[in-house]
């Protein structure tokens, strides 16, 4: 893989294609989780391929190729949502309720993708996807999303709390009022 990255950095498009195709399905599924339809998700994949090949020379550590690629995909997804004015960014509120349950690997039984999409804001969604779908560590997530490690964890637990409350039928925002 490192050899392919080095070739791609020299402009070898076939080497880059081989690299990209290794992750294109993951990129598509992550994009779909954001944009919620096939057409836009395919646009994200194409944009990601374009941007990443254009900028692969800037990748300093080839071993972090996947992390770097996923970051571009998330960025492209959010760009499309912005263009369509379908996203409202919420600033992470570190004072919000943080779950006492730190069993992060125990995901709520019965959670569906629709729950994930409908209940989480973009930061929460990004972290949940990177944690559970990409198996990133918190450190990798904080570097990918360029946010402090503590904030990353706080948002993560907040997202889990939201999902649990949704499944229980409670309205977490009503509780906060």
């Amino acid at each position: 893989m490192l050899e392919l990255v080095r070739k791609a950095q020299k402009g070898n498009d076939k080497a880059f294609l081989a690299l990209f195709q290794e992750y294109e399905q993951e990129i598509y599924r992550i994009a779909f989780a954001y944009v919620k339809n096939q057409s836009d998700a395919l646009d994200v994949v194409q944009d990601t391929a374009y941007r990443s090949f254009m900028s692969i020379k800037n990748l300093k550590e080839p071993k972090y190729f996947k992390t770097w690629l996923i970051k571009i995909a998330i960025s492209c997804s959010i760009d499309i949502l912005r263009k369509k004015k379908k996203v409202l960014f919420l600033k992470p509120n570190v004072e919000e309720i943080v779950s006492d349950n730190k069993e992060e690997d125990e995901v709520i039984l019965g959670v569906t993708l629709r729950d994930l999409i409908d209940e989480l804001d973009e930061n929460e969604k990004s972290i949940i996807l990177l944690k559970f779908y990409e198996d990133f560590t918190f450190k990798e997530i904080s570097e990918t999303l360029e946010m402090p490690l503590g904030t990353t964890k706080t948002i993560f637990y907040r997202a889990l709390q939201k999902l649990r409350n949704h499944l229980k039928g409670d309205d977490v925002y009503a509780q906060l009022d």
Partner: protein, 314 residues
Amino acid sequence: MHNLIKQEMNKIEIPKELRERSKMGINQAKEEMKKKNTRFKVGAGVTAVLATACAFILFTNGTLSIPGNEAEISQNEYTSVEIPAIELPENGSNAKMIGLVVYNGKVYTQTMSEIDPEVAKAIRGEKLGTTKGNIDEWSKQDAYSVEFASTIGVADVYTVDGYDKDFRIMSFEEYNGYVYAQFFENLNGITIQSGKDIFGKLNMVGNISSAQYRTFDDWNSGINNFFPIENLEGLNRFIEALNHAKPLSRNDNVDPLGDSLNSEDYRELTLNLVDGTNVKLTLLKDGYIYYGYMYDAYFQMNEDEFSKLWTQLK
């Protein structure tokens, strides 16, 4: 560890177009990097063939439109619809690329009709040439006058057995053991007198092996929740009636598509032909039919004929 999120994510169906779209993005970058490194010259060797070329589609409220064409769409007293050749808009800043190939002076655009890669070899006809992959959103008008100019990178182009090459051609390439095959159709610079001018060229009558449909919600969410159509005899009558459908201009009429993007009014119909091709049509409850990426025209069928099929799609 019970990671339902990962399981749920992996249920998202991967569309067939994924590979092609990855390649398109990389080719776009490749061509842009070439432009930065070389000076592009348009010399006397480049000859203008017809007023062709544009791959740029402006998306407005979820529908497709080609700028500059709206005033030119017209319908004569016999309800034919004239669709002018695609032209490049002045401002491509909001443009989005689609696949296109210039062949024999005409622009062929990517289509919703698909071909399974394994079957593509069987119906691949005569090789016409190889695309140049020289068009992107920064291309000048004269880039489109070059035979086999395209937005799809370098690919071999063939006729398709059983189809008029003035209507349909096929890109075909093999890479790393994978076959990439895609249809391109000439749906601009034409006059449509009736449904036969489009649907007749798809070779559907008497050639349907099976068919299925899905609702708008499933289509829009990329969920392959298809329902089979059991009554093929009724379906064939519908297909025959398509040849007599009335063409309508999307610019001269109130296009019903925008108000019909819901599962009550909208169906995606997929027709699987015996030669392995799959034709996708969009049907609206009130008797309207859309084909693929036709930007300027849609069709209306006799209410009685249409409703007989629609009752099968509930």
